[in-house]
Structures are given as structure tokens and as C-alpha cells.
Symmetry: C2
């Protein structure tokens, strides 16, 4: 009965809603087909995500740097990686277009049906470190039925900053226990739980591609599910 | 051809999307039926809007007071008006429920079809002085297909503060000329125009109820239409 009062579900986006590994790898392969340059795209993409985006977010989160647009974070790392993997001959607009793959990522198979079911009983919103523009693009690209968007750039900080969950609750004008964070990342859920949110962990074993080690969960969350359709069912039967 | 580059349509909500006069008047009449207390609800509702909400927004806009939740603004004035019109005998939860009529206003007849058509070619977002919570409630109540929400409380200021339009453009990461403000209020559009937005004026002669004087437009805007369906058609044929 722990979710009986929940009014709003907030979703992590990169990994939880979107399958960034497949989407970006596929776009990389198109570049290889066009240029004839062979690249281990799975490795490239994971570096782009982990050493590019997540490392910069860590610096923003720890106060070492100010927040900058998501597209700029991606673009800065892309130039480093194209150089490292000797991908040459792309025009500036081709690089821009590749960079913006992060604004047109595909979603996991269960997302469309799952969100539709969840929306019947809850307000559903992304709550992501991706900025407003990136989330708006992803939403339109995938026709996601969000009721609104909560992006970290509203607050000039990023998850899992311990205060950002309170900022989101204040924006929603709800007590934290009426909000559930839905994510495939334990650190994000831990931050939400510390702020008093309900939590739902979604298993996304393929987030980092086939064969990657699933994330280790160190603490229990209110729910653990394999996809959004199961989440809708579990919430329906447990509240 | 002036809207050829427009990517995003931002909508004023109270008056432009929602028919607040009818919705609030009807709820008032229900109170009269229940309590037997006769009230000139049209007058009551206009005072609530003009002397309550709009006057407080003016004080926020001019820096005389900090921004407060939309629901609080409405509630403060409601207590004054209930006293002024001698509406007694309501419980606290009945007063709360009446106050929250502003979170469940109905929309004009053209809105559902018009927004659906406009969404085919543009990102559509409310850009309102109503706060995030109020806009989220209105959106769910009317199943509005917004791509996101831009509310004044993101920026701790209100329209037509000359800087708030730039804040919205920055959030969208778009040059102002790629954004169109859609509103039935000349002051709002004038602020948007000054910031470089495209502008569409929507005639809503019944905003303040039957027989009210339509707003005087002092400057020309890019488009003038009678409803959102006409706006979709005009944009389709002119760009």
C-alpha cells in the first residue's frame, strides 16, 4: 500500500525511457557505411555517455562547473572522440546531425503502452538531467504523452544533488511522499528516497549494450519491475 | 511568410485557452443552488480575476512582492469576496474546492481540434502566469496535448516582464523569431513582440462574459484569428 497517495510519477529518461546505446550505435554504423571508416561503435558510444556526459554532470553536481546545454556537453565530447577514433571527413553539419542523435533517441519497447496505462491514474513527467530542449525533442520524436517536463536546467543543478528532488516537489506543490521517482539508476533513486519520494526501480539490463554488467542495487526500493507495463500493473494491484 | 521559421507556439492560458468566466460562474451558481444565497456571480468572478489575480500579478511584475503560488493568490481574494458578498456557511473544504475551480477551468470549443492540428507542425506549450501546478492540473482536466509546460514560476517573475520572454527563449534554446506567442491579450503579445517573438492575436470577445467590451488592440501583430482552428489554417497556408 506504499504508493496509495502517489499523484505524480517522475521518470529518469536516459536509460530508463530511452535506449541510448542502440540508437547512437546505429547512427554510428551509418557513418561507417558512408565513410568506410570502421569504428567500434559500442565502445565509442559508452565513452560518449560515461566519460563525456556523466563525467561533466558529476562536475556540475559537485559545483566544479556551471550547468551548460546538454547539446554542448555532447558536442564537446564528440569532437574528442571523432579525433580519438580517426573519424575524418565529416562536415560540420554532419557532425551536428550526429551529435543531435541524443535528441532523437528511440525508446524501449514497453514505453508507449506503459506510459499510456500509467497516465490513466497518475500525472507522468520526465525528471531528467537532460535539458528542457533535449527533453522536448525526445518527447516529440517518440510522441511521448508526458503531462509536462521537469528538467534539471530549471534548477541550475543536476540529479542526484540532494536538494533537486525538493525543488521538483516544490514545483509540483506536492509533499515528497506523493511523488514516485521511476529510474533504472540506483543513485538517482537513492537521492529521491532520501528526499522522501517513493521509488520504483526498473531493470534495464541492456542500457549499456549486450553483455554489460547490470547495475548493483545497494538499497531496497518500494518497487522493482522489468518494464513500464509491469509498473502500471503493480501499482494498480498494490494501491 | 513571416512565420516560416517558427518552431514553437507558446500559448497564454487564462482567456486564450480557457473560458474562465463561464467555468467559475457556473461553479458559483452551484453554490447558490446549494446554500440559497443569491450572488451576482458574473460580477463576483470578474472581481476575482481583475482585482484579485491580475492586481497581484501587477505587484509581482513591478517588484512590489515576490511570486506566490497561483492557488494562494486565488484563495486570498476568495475569502475577501465571500465576505463582501455575504456567502456564509461554507466549510473550509468547500471553500478550497471552489478555489480550485481555477485548476479545472473548461476550454473554448475550438481548443481541442485546434491544438491537435497545430501540434502536427509545431511544438505547442502553454506560457502562462499560472504556476506549474495549476497548468498541470488544467492540462490533465482538459486532456490538452501540450509538448511541455512553461510557467512563470520557473523564472520567479510574470508576463509581461520584458525579460521573461527572453528567459523562455533561452529555455527553449531558440532565437526569439522562431517562437510565436499566441494570446488574446495585447499587452502579453506586445511584450513578446518587443522580445522578437512572432505574435498571433486570438479574438476572445467573451473572455469577460457576455456584453463585456473587447480588448482594444493598439499595435498590429503578425496574425489575427478568431480561434485556434483558424490559426492552424492560416499558418498552413501562409508559410
Amino acid at each position: 500500500m506504499s504508493a496509495a497517495n502517489v499523484k505524480v510519477l517522475c521518470f529518469d529518461v536516459f536509460g530508463t525511457v530511452t535506449d541510448w546505446y542502440s540508437s547512437v550505435t546505429q547512427e554510428g554504423q551509418k557513418i561507417s557505411e558512408k565513410t568506410g571508416i570502421s569504428v567500434p561503435w559500442g565502445e565509442f558510444v559508452k565513452k560518449w555517455r560515461i566519460e563525456g556526459y556523466q563525467k561533466v554532470l558529476g562536475e556540475i553536481s559537485s559545483g566544479k562547473m556551471d550547468i551548460i546545454p546538454t547539446e554542448t556537453i555532447h558536442r564537446n565530447m564528440l569532437e574528442i572522440l571523432l579525433d580519438e577514433y580517426s573519424v575524418t571527413g565529416l562536415s560540420n553539419s554532419e557532425i551536428d546531425n550526429f551529435n543531435r542523435v541524443w535528441n532523437r533517441l528511440g525508446v524501449w519497447d514497453d514505453v508507449a503502452e506503459g506510459l499510456k496505462k500509467l497516465k490513466e491514474n497518475y500525472s507522468i513527467l520526465p525528471f531528467s538531467n537532460g535539458d528542457f530542449r533535449c527533453l522536448l525533442d525526445l518527447s516529440r520524436h517518440n510522441q511521448l504523452p508526458w503531462d509536462g517536463i521537469i528538467s534539471a536546467d530549471f534548477f541550475k543543478k543536476v540529479k542526484p544533488d540532494p536538494t533537486i528532488y525538493h525543488d521538483a516537489a516544490n514545483l509540483l506543490q506536492l509533499p515528497p511522499e506523493e511523488i514516485m521517482m521511476v529510474a533504472c539508476h540506483a543513485r538517482d533513486l537513492q537521492g529521491a528516497k532520501n528526499a522522501g519520494f517513493k521509488t520504483a526501480y526498473v531493470n534495464r539490463p541492456l542500457e549499456y549494450g549486450p553483455g554489460a554488467r547490470p547495475e548493483e542495487k545497494t538499497v531496497p526500493f518500494d518497487y522493482e519491475v522489468d518494464d513500464f507495463i509491469e509498473l502500471a500493473e503493480v501499482l494498480r494491484t498494490s494501491t
